[in-house]
Amino acid sequence: MRTRLRGGLFGKYVGTFVGFAVFVLLVNGVLEMAFTYRETTAAVVKAESEKAEAAAARIAQQIAEIERQIAWTTRASAGVEQRRNDYMLLLQQVPAIDELMQIDGNGKELLRVSRFTVEAIAGTDYAQDPRFLQALARQVWIGPVYFRNEVDPYISIAMAHSGQYAGVTVAEVDLRFLRDLVAPFAIGDQGYAYVLGAKGRLLAGSDLLKAPRGSDLGGLPQVVEVTADVADQPAGDRSALAAFGRDLGDRSVLAAAVAVPRTDWLVFVEQPLAEAFKPFYVLLLRIGGLILLCIALAVLAGVLLARRMVVPIRALAAGVGKFGAGEFGHRIEVRTGDEIEALADEFNRMAAQLDQSYARLEQTVEERTRQLAERGRQLQIANEHKSQFFANMSHELRTPLNAVLGYAELLVDGLYGEMPQKAVDVLERVQANGRHLLGLINDVLDLSKIEAGQLALVLDAYSMRGVVEQVVASTESLARAKGLALTTQIADDLPIGHGDERRLTQVFLNIVGNAIKFTERGSVDIRVGASSDAFEVAVRDTGPGIAPEDRQRIFDEFQQVDNSNTRQKGGTGLGLAIARRLVEMHGGVIRLESEVGIGSAFTIVLPVRATGPGAPGAAGVAS
């Protein structure tokens, strides 16, 4: 009878522990991750920016150096031959310069020295060339990047001559040296640095960039963003700019870029996030691991605590269940040393008390039962004494009655001489009263025997038809004397009955006799039928009927509807009571239907095979 619980304490404890631990860890983890993310990003950006600035500075320095070298050749005034020698020397000293050209003040090419080709004075007119014009205007002019063979970036540096010979020296500078300048500024194992010229064309980059010079990187998101930001920067501001983007391998990267002074170049230093955020990812893993570990610990702690709490409580529940089932000898074993143990002890004490109370109760019940049994035995003995007394008394009563009736008959028969008719009449009244007294004595004896349980049925096979016919034979003279029609209807195929034929005859004789006795005119009808296992004998009369309130009472001892009537009709008032008891002893019932002024019908339902002596009153009277 245990209630099905929706959720046990066990689950609740474990759930609470795990939930609490996970909540704290999650909050902590999320905060820490957010901070770490920001810090990591800032640190990466800072490192990249520093590298990019350094690289930009190196490039600017290198270009300045090249300028200085070129300037050396432009200072002294010299003839063409002298200048050729100067140019040759310059080519030797500055490997980045591939070609030098002198233009006179009118824009005519005077001299050209190349690292690769045999020089020839072409006399080409450069009067309108931007290199000539810009140099004259600004003293030094650095031209835009151009590519030879599509992949080799070059710039022109044009410088106006000082001194009396007006003119311009133009140097074509191979920018491949940029690679060696930026490469050292790559960070980490997977980071790289590169320089972009105008429109995002790659001038140089460290190997890990994996892009040929001249590639157009203008489409990369970080390049787009930085280019836009540079355009927005106020003049002279060359601070680094940072942007998230993607590399050529489509990996996420974090980039920092710086503009190279005096050019429109940008130096990028980039690192894939996979590497840059490695510490962050490690932290992420660590926090995740920590959360899992803590969940495991919380579960463990929850389970242990729940065990400590729940196991004793379950022991309590089980123990109380046993008490409820009446096992008061059970003791709840809880040794937790806390309130639960105290509770268990209380329960145990309660059980012990209940045990005692029950024991006392059982003892009392036993004692009372014994007393009752003793009382019952005494009553039984008293009852037996009573019926023995009745039996003896009836014998004692009958003996003198026997003599009275015997003498009266001998007198009537004239054994002691002829009697006058008047005396014969009186003697016959003596006989009639004597026989009535005898009937009373017999009935009392029968009833007392039945009540004492001393009346045993003599069970044997009998014919119901025979019984009924005998009853009719005994009563038809009485019916005829009263002018009543006594009719019978007996089914043909009645089974052989099993019961006490004499007693059953007594029962039907009583019922039929009563019907005739109480009916003044009309008929008494007897119908006998049988179902598979029971006879049904109905005795119907056209007598005065029995009022509903009397229908049960008439089956009780010494009860007749009307005592004055009894005296008028004769009878002991015991007949129906005896009949009922006898029918019940056969396992049957007597039913009574009656209507005052119309008549009565007694129906006896009797098992074909008597079910043996039933306890008096076990079967009933149905009205």
């Binding site: 014998h395 003996t399 009655l401 026997n402 003498y407 001998l410 005898l438």
Partner: protein, 134 residues
């Protein structure tokens, strides 16, 4: 004359039987208890015995059994007369060897009829002693 033994402890009943049976022409021997009844039965060898069942000293059932145990009396009818007119009494009496059963209070007329019937049944089987004596 036909000879009847009456074993009956009540004087009134004995007198009624005596008056009835002597009036009917029988000779009578009477006993007041079972023991004397057995002794008289075995010595006098009556033609019929009327035996009350409730008797002092030896009861009627026992007396009937003892009388029937004698081979000479085995055929002599015994009529049990008892006031215990209940089911079982008749069977008990017959088991003790009684040939007929009359419940008290008996009607003298009916008793006489029963006695005459039993004697008539007996007559062809053996010599009519009563006639010898009568």
């Amino acid at each position: 004359m036909t000879h009847i033994l009456v074993v009956e402890d009540t004087e009134d009943n004995r007198r009624i039987l005596r008056d009835l049976l002597t009036h009917a022409g029988f000779t009578l021997t009477e006993a007041g208890d079972g023991e004397r009844g057995v002794a008289l039965a075995l010595s006098e060898k009556p033609d019929l015995i009327l035996m009350d069942m409730q008797l002092p000293i030896v009861d009627g059932y026992d007396a009937a059994r003892r009388i029937k145990a004698d081979p000479a009396m085995a055929k002599t009818p015994i009529v049990a007369v008892t006031s215990y007119a209940l089911s079982g009494d008749e069977e008990k009496a017959r088991a003790a060897g009684c040939d007929a059963y009359v419940a008290k209070p008996f009607s003298p007329r009916q008793l006489l009829a029963t006695v005459k019937e039993l004697l008539a049944r007996e007559t062809p089987a053996g010599p009519a002693k009563g006639i010898d004596r009568g």
